[in-house]
Symmetry: D3
Subunit: 341 residues, 6 copies
């Protein structure tokens, strides 16, 4: 008999402030409010898929913290391990791109309550009770030394309890401001992982290597994944995501998965009217984890993750608000977005 | 001298609730409100074209009924034959699709005031006084047994008074919940019609036949229309609509018309930024009726209907808020949407 | 040592649609969306107070049900005992009053998923596991015969397990449409209760008696409460709410509580800019339950409930989004609404 | 047997642009759109009361004219006598007052399509066919010489056909810009009227006389009304409105009516949360006309008008969107704005 | 001949984020955006009055800084002395109070670009070129040690150039987080000032003394002002503001002014529908400065300031968007907020 | 050493009213407010680029004029030479096109304050003090005879002071209503210019000539520009813009520049999701002027202008809210609109 999968994630949930539509920051008199964060997005998406997911984190003991908590609780995530601490609410400002104009993100995450969270403040026994999977991303160790320590402690504790560990490298150059670079930290964390997820340039930025070239061929991705699995024998699996954009609204997206025994490429999705590009990588991670945790075959899990990612491009906000039925329907269809009535 | 055309339609007007933009139902804190219904949409579009149109229906004797009445009255439709009865306001919830994500409709139309309307509550003499055309659709007989009876009664009364009758099959599988299927009812109603309008799959779903194949060639449509005219000799004309979508926002649309003496295909419109797909079929019906009722040639009427349909894809809400000048301008142009200033 | 209180409530959660601000239904092109229902409001308010609360209910297995579920989950209510069943989503339309103009509610709650919920579909052992208190209101038995049965079954099951039972009579004349009147049903249900809550006219409407007069004196309320406790010896306590309005925005509000040993009147709150009047009774119920369940003295619990009620008048939506600190601060202050900065 | 009353009004319908809520013009990035005009407001209110009303006017032959037409058509007004002419759309900008801050109106009504409408362009036979009452206001003759001529022509045509004529003096000092003052024009028009309506200062401003003093006593109003009826023996009735404000949101309102045989004062309404003050005078006019046209007694008609006026203060927009049942309910109640549910 | 007054202010401009209307932070999906800060508000109000005003400050070199700059530039303030530096954008979250519910402010102003501004980065010669008045408030020295130093440096530089210096004590207990208390710093800064402005409790909190009692009598204020002028002989004038609230929307407001030669109390304004309470003290300061800088008599300047303050209660946002004509009209009127049309 | 460029423009700033999103005028209950005008847009864009720009104009002495002034002042434009005069505020209504549906503009600019501005009311010495460049467009002489005279006077005054003069022909057929045609006026004004900017059809419409053909080849543009330089030897440079649209949202855009010594074509931008097409020509003018005024080479200035134009298509409102860094980044990139984070 299969145990029901329970996935725990650890990371920071931050307030996202975005001008409506395509307005620029300098034009807006309103911000649309939602909340996001790589690992919270994964937990939220998994809960929307119907799995039990838990979020380990800290939020400020203020109304802003309460607002954030309500947001992730609405998604169905178990928030009993979200501490309420002194410190700021992390914020990011998002200006959406439009056609040839690039969007931009302004991070405002210093001195947050999450940075005040120490490993000993987490009740790991309770947080991992019954859990089968632990997911973290390269965002957390990039924020601060304390967050890096917390992330590593979580991976150790999960390892000690036999959970499957997934790590999404998720490189953000501008976040590494506390004196270490990604290549100082991420190889060590990668050594704890079972499943690794990486964007095209993440291995070079975080692990220090990747094949020559620009990632324009399948061969390139296969060479990369082979190299990663070779260098990190603890990994049973690596997924690499492949995005090509021609404008802010037009993207092509696919992913590659390699295990010890196989190498796969997902269907390529052509998206022409992207609603919200943020969180699409997390949507893929959640989809892949869902597939693997519910015992799909590797290739099916990859395809599930890619379809989840494609759908996220159509969902406003950081979290992928879609059901497994919708993901499966897209996998099985021609993706023409017909009206169901 | 030509009589001024007066078109009467019979059907239900319902409240439409839609989250703003591309938000999902589960995300929204607001609904945009409008009103629609296949036959009301046709009446509204005809009124916007400047024709006299009348709507025969019932609405609840509540503020919700009043709100609906104001909506259709604003369009210029004659509402003196809209009864106010006990019963609910019919509702549908619309979640817009986006790119690869399908939109969806949730119908909530049981036990409405319209279902309480019986043929003898309609003053047919007055409703059809001076009228030259009567339009109904397959939505009405799908709602309830009472609505089916009302629809049939209306067709009989119109027939008896020599009105031209158009029927849009407009198949909605999910509406047929009262114990009969479309094929039980629609052939009988089709026998009253002079002009029939059908979507690609409507003839099979409603009348029980259509050519083999998937409707990807003009031949297929010509075979279909020939067969229909053969089986229903009462029909002087059949129009079949042809939609091909590649995403929620990208559609190709054309229509085919066959009469006893000719067979035509409209221009194909390529739409890349669909604003609102709902009601586009009704916009075609209204355009075709406008053309025929104002004595355009068949092919011109078909082209007018197709251009009206194309414009409706750019109009938010159920009803086609465009003028005949705009339709004609599109027919005569290259459809490049230039700014007029 | 005191057991941590766990409160279960049973009832229907419905979709609330309200025009923005003071717009009338016939004027609006938007609806503001929230969710409410007497017992869900109590559960939500208790969760916002930091207590464990559970909601026993059913919602449709549709996107509308999902939307509703997210709403109550956001508040922190345990929703594991909310079934997903076929049937409609219950709706109510709310038009806010303004000054001398009365607001109005249009209920649209027939044939909902909740009406399809039968007592045997609830796992009472699990739903009441560890629970110390069960709350219901007179709304539920007013909806339908099945809802009445469910409510009574819940009370029996709670009684059998030794929970404290509170019943808010909450009379709504327009809901009793299934062939029974409130006086046919409510006395029987009252016989299960330990704590009874009633508005000024509820005892006459639901139980069939009340003192002569119009409720304008404290004596009247004391006579009423004495009579109720006399006639229903199962009751250990009755609270009666006292509202006097001079316009849609100006209300005076207080409450009376009688137990076997004492009779109390709360402070009277004078409200001059009511933001949302709906759910204020539920806010009182939640406040009173909070006080009693956390072992405040009767009079303190009454005052806590009254202050919670006063605050709810300033909160948009059905549920009282305030903390216990805020309630206590109001109890201890002069209620002048100063800016804290 | 009583003839069904049919009321015709003549005037200009203009576009109203207002910043949301209490924002100032210099702050706003949005305008709320509605349409108004003294006589259109009366026609709209009468249609909402269920009477047949007609509007004689002209609008530009542009999309802005169409937008305006839809607005008044939605209310149920017969618009067959609204010409579409060259010329601008009249506009007014409204900045709402707040507490001690005065609101302000910026008129932008030069060279409008309405000013291009000449008496011979109106088909008076058709416009007055079956009509029993004709209503105009002092706004129209204030706009332009052509509008003055049109107004006078309408009164003559109505007189010739035996319609009852009501004239609301409705003085706006800032509108008289074409070389004549109100006292040059209004006495002549008053000589056509049967029923005259005036604000406190209107008789002095338009007719050139009024009692000494500031209108703070009933005696003052009675002296005024007596004098007016004496000087204009054609009048069978005069109503004078009495407003006292203590802030932008707090007003007291009543009205006085004198006929040849009686003198009455309405109930005084105390309003504390005025939603929209514009159009309240028109709401009174419409209410009084409704009462008189449906053969209420004079005093009852006065009370009906006053209650209609009070309700208008709670309705956003220029037109009084209330039913006769609501007016009657307010007349019969204590005006406490209770929620009906 | 009088020199044209030019007023310079120094302080921080921060981003204000507020849920719409009366929504709580935990309920909102939108923030309304504006910018404020005590000294920027004074500069903005003075510019709206038509005076030349300059703002000395620093903003981040990001889109958020640009957005803020556009905001204050729109008001007409000279921003050539606003540096663009590394560091965060200061933020405050505002939850509006409602009736008995208190509003609250969450400050988020650590490590801002303004805190990075050092006295030597300001070109004082240029900033004070032609200036006649320099205004600062107790907010700036409360933010950080660097801001305190900057404030003091500005006062010294202004003193050296013979400018009139006004200081608004503006005490905010929660801002003093860098190790010093207001009483450690403010007496020293007060010694530079010519005009001092204080709220009821500010002298005790900042200067360490005030009369016994609660400020409920004019005598109390006169005793206070006499004591202040006695202890700080450098002061030529002190103004003390007097607010009494009965709810979030109902305030009474007046001010007291004492100079060496006279003692005055302004008219008391009774406000019943406060739109935005934030910045009202700054509006008074700006009004008083306007009056004094344009050589009104002391009492007239006090009355001008009080009327400006009253108007600010009706203006959304931090800055008083009113003209001198409007202030004078209120001073001369009964403040009944009539519609001007 | 290079003088810092200071650019002066002369023209009218008008209020723009646009329904939200793709709504039609006849559907909307809201207008989005911004301000625009060809020369104001150029001044605003230049200020956003960081150059000193001045605007010479007149606005009404009303709140609407104040609102407009705040708008352009926010952008950083020097407004000291904007007079405040009697007269209307100019307005234009904009209905956005969608896909195959054309957008439309309704001008409402008669009798505005700007039309009341006479050359002698401008202090040309002050307005041109230190200025190096003067820009006007063919909009101004099209509005009225007085505006034509003002435009010519400005060109003469600029010429006399040795400023570089640029003229954008900017033909709007519908504006020439005062009795002269563009060809009567524009050749004379062109004779003052140093740099001429023209759309494809502008030379024929304004100057009376252009090559045969439809502008579909580079040769056509080169023939045109050669001819213009030949006929107007005062010109040192002409730029011609090249737009090809396939729908309201899909445009291709490039520009051609010819000087005495060279002929260039910019990169062609393919835009697929145009946000706002209005003001893109002005964005090009501003970009070209920026390049030339800051002493870029001709071809570089052309490319800068073309990239600025491409970015403007992604910016809501009339004015190009982008920085020089963003323009340069687009020039140097592949224009794929990647998210910067």
């Amino acid at each position: 008999m299969t145990t029901e999968p329970i996935i725990a994630t650890l990371g920071e949930l931050i307030l996202r402030l975005k001008p409506p539509g395509k307005l620029r920051l300098r034009q807006t008199a309103k911000f649309e409010v939602c909340h996001g964060g790589a690992e919270a997005n994964v937990a939220g998406s998994l809960a929307q898929f119907g799995l039990q997911s838990r979020f380990i984190s800290a939020l400020p003991a203020s109304e802003l913290g309460e607002q954030a908590l309500m947001s992730i609780r609405a998604n169905g995530v178990d928030v009993r391990h979200v501490a309420r601490l002194p410190g700021r609410m992390g914020i990011y400002f998002l200006e959406d791109g439009a056609d040839v104009r690039s969007g931009c993100v302004i991070y405002d995450r210093q001195d947050t309550a999450f940075c005040a969270l120490t490993p000993d403040q987490v009740d790991w026994d309770s947080a991992f009770d019954g859990a089968t999977w632990f997911h973290v991303s390269g965002i957390t160790p990039a924020i601060s030394a304390s967050a890096r320590d917390l992330c590593e402690a979580g991976m150790k504790e999960a390892k000690a309890r036999g959970l499957h560990i997934s790590l999404d490298l998720n490189h953000r150059e501008r976040l590494w401001q506390y004196g270490q670079r990604a290549t100082d930290v991420m190889p060590g964390l990668t050594a704890y992982a079972d499943t690794l997820i990486a964007g095209r340039g993440d291995c070079r930025a975080c692990l220090g290597f990747s094949p020559e070239g620009d990632g324009s061929t399948n061969d390139w991705y296969e060479a990369l994944s082979e190299d990663v699995l070779h260098r990190f024998p603890n990994l049973t699996r690596i997924a690499v995501t492949i995005r090509n954009s021609s404008s802010a609204e037009c993207h092509k997206w696919a992913a590659h998965l390699r295990t010890g025994s196989g190498s796969y490429f997902s269907k390529t999705y052509h998206l022409h009217n992207v609603v919200d590009r943020v969180g699409t990588g997390d949507a893929f991670a959640a989809g892949l984890i869902y597939g693997l945790a519910t015992e799909m075959q590797d290739e099916a899990a990859l395809q599930f993750g890619a379809a989840a990612n494609a759908l996220k491009h159509t969902i406003a906000g950081d979290t992928n608000m879609v059901t497994t039925n919708e993901v499966k329907a897209l996998m099985d269809s021609d993706g023409t977005g017909r009206l169901r009535r």
